[in-house]
Amino acid sequence: MTLADDRAAAVWDAEEARRARSARIETVARWVIPVLVVCATLGLWQWYVIAYEVPHYLLPAPTRIWEQLVTDRLILADALWVTLKITIMALAVAVLGGVLLAILFNQSRFAELVFYPYAVILQVTPIVSIAPLIFIYVKEPTARVLICAWIVAFFPILSNTTLGLKSTDHNLRDLFAIYGASRWQRLIFLQLPSALPYFLGGLRIAGGLALIGAIVAEYVVGTGGAGSGLAFRILEASYRLNIPRMFAALALIAVVGVAIFALTSFVSWFALRKWHESAIRRET
């Protein structure tokens, strides 16, 4: 090895080290910075409430909300379970219904012409205005809420999956035709895998919407007695001016929303990690 080679190697090492260091910093920062931001916000909030002596029935301090969470843990846990159950069920039915409808639309142009207008009408009509009708027609309280949440959640899955089923590579379609593939073979081996990234994009949107649908439905139709989810607890607490409990329930809803987003994002990454651009980390 000559001196020049040595120097080149040394330069390369420094460059490499710098790159490795910045990669390490990024890995840590990705978690640390959001956590710090949240902590700082909570700290500022706490300080403001104490410094300006804001009464807890206007704005409770984070510590006060935490205390309320602990005191009301049984009521809130029950409510959380009710809301969570509705959300998950609505999402499951939305996935099933959305995917099956998308396949039906894709396989039968006639079915698409017949049913698609209804899908669009359901989507563009605000759920708050449909909900009272559902309250009248459906007697079972859980079913009422579930239907509302489903209406809100299923459309992104339907429209994304429909788009995905249409977005197959034309050459691959030709190839399947040349090899004499049946329409079911084309659906299973070509269209469904092509639609997967689109479906998963729809799932991420639908996860958040299912929660929103469940909450809105509870506000509108679920207050008639049996519904006792988080939204019901918020309403009840607001009537009693129990502001800390409102915040506690609100915090739980936010946590559920974040958890659903994290979970659907993980599912999406896991399913696509081997082959889809969206899930592949490029080496620099």
Binding site: D174, L175, A177, Y179, F189, P193, K274, W275, E277
Partner: protein, 265 residues
């Protein structure tokens, strides 16, 4: 080579007929004549190039033979009738399923016939060996270079041992060096398994290097203007590219192409 090697290539004049195009025409929207009265006799063992500029109907001819569209006039006759699995196809893009591994992609033609992977594993292995990708069974297409993807595509086309392989400008998107390598390897593969090929290209040099028959086509309307033979023996290796035979043929073909385009040679 056990299962894929099944055909021997006979000399040009002694080959049995594989298919015939009789006065095949294709008109789009009732106005645009993509292909005008094409007659073609293809024999078993032919390496036939369709050569011409864009718009000359060479890809249309290929799609007609593939059965992807129906001719407006004329007919295409296979000797002994066309069976499922008679065709293998390579497009300009590798056209691989990105969610499937290399081996799964090559297995596709069998899968669509209802044959599971285990029952044809040796065929898939053999096809991948033939294109030089025996170590990449479990790789995903995105992990491969453009040339390697094209090799997978070729393996998929020949894995079932089809009577005819259609190639639609398969190497047009590759760099020159990769392209030459693939040209050499394609001829080596053909030497081993004796397949019949129709090869669409717009490169005079590619057509002369690869084929023993060249159909020169012209645009507006798309039609056949000349049929030539390249009577240089296979195997052709790198040296063929610098030989006088090669240069002479390239000149003849270039002149035919220039004439087809209506330019002074």
């Amino acid at each position: 080579m056990t299962e894929l090697a099944q055909r021997t290539i006979r000399p040009l004049g002694e080959r049995p007929r594989l298919l015939e195009m009789q006065g095949v025409a294709k008109v789009f929207n009732g106005t645009v004549t993509a292909l005008q009265g094409m007659n073609l006799a293809l024999n078993e063992g032919d390496f036939l190039s369709l050569l011409g500029p864009s718009g000359c109907g060479k890809s249309t001819a290929l799609r007609l033979i593939a059965g992807l569209m129906q001719p407006t006039a004329g007919r295409i006759l296979w000797s002994g009738g066309q069976q499922k699995g008679d065709l293998g196809v390579v497009f300009q893009e590798p056209t691989l399923m990105p969610w499937a591994t290399v081996a799964q992609n090559v297995h596709l033609p069998f899968r669509l016939r209802g044959q599971g992977f285990a029952s044809v594993r040796s065929r898939v292995d053999e096809a991948l060996d033939l294109v030089g990708l025996s170590n990449f069974h479990d790789a995903y297409p995105r992990e491969l270079s453009g040339g390697m993807k094209m090799r997978v595509s070729i393996a998929r086309a020949l894995v079932t041992g089809p009577r005819l392989i259609l190639m639609d400008e398969p190497f047009a998107a590759l760099d020159e060096i990769t392209r030459q390598k693939l040209n050499n390897d394609l001829l080596a593969m053909r030497g081993k398994i004796g397949c019949t090929v129709i090869f669409v290209t717009h490169s005079v040099f590619e057509s002369v290097f690869l084929s023993d028959r060249i159909i020169v086509m012209a645009p507006r309307p798309g039609r056949v203007v000349e049929e030539l033979q390249v009577d240089a023996p296979y195997p052709r290796r790198m040296e063929f590219r610098t030989s006088t035979t090669y240069a002479a043929h390239a000149q003849v073909v270039s002149r035919a192409l220039a004439q087809a385009m209506g330019e002074p040679a």
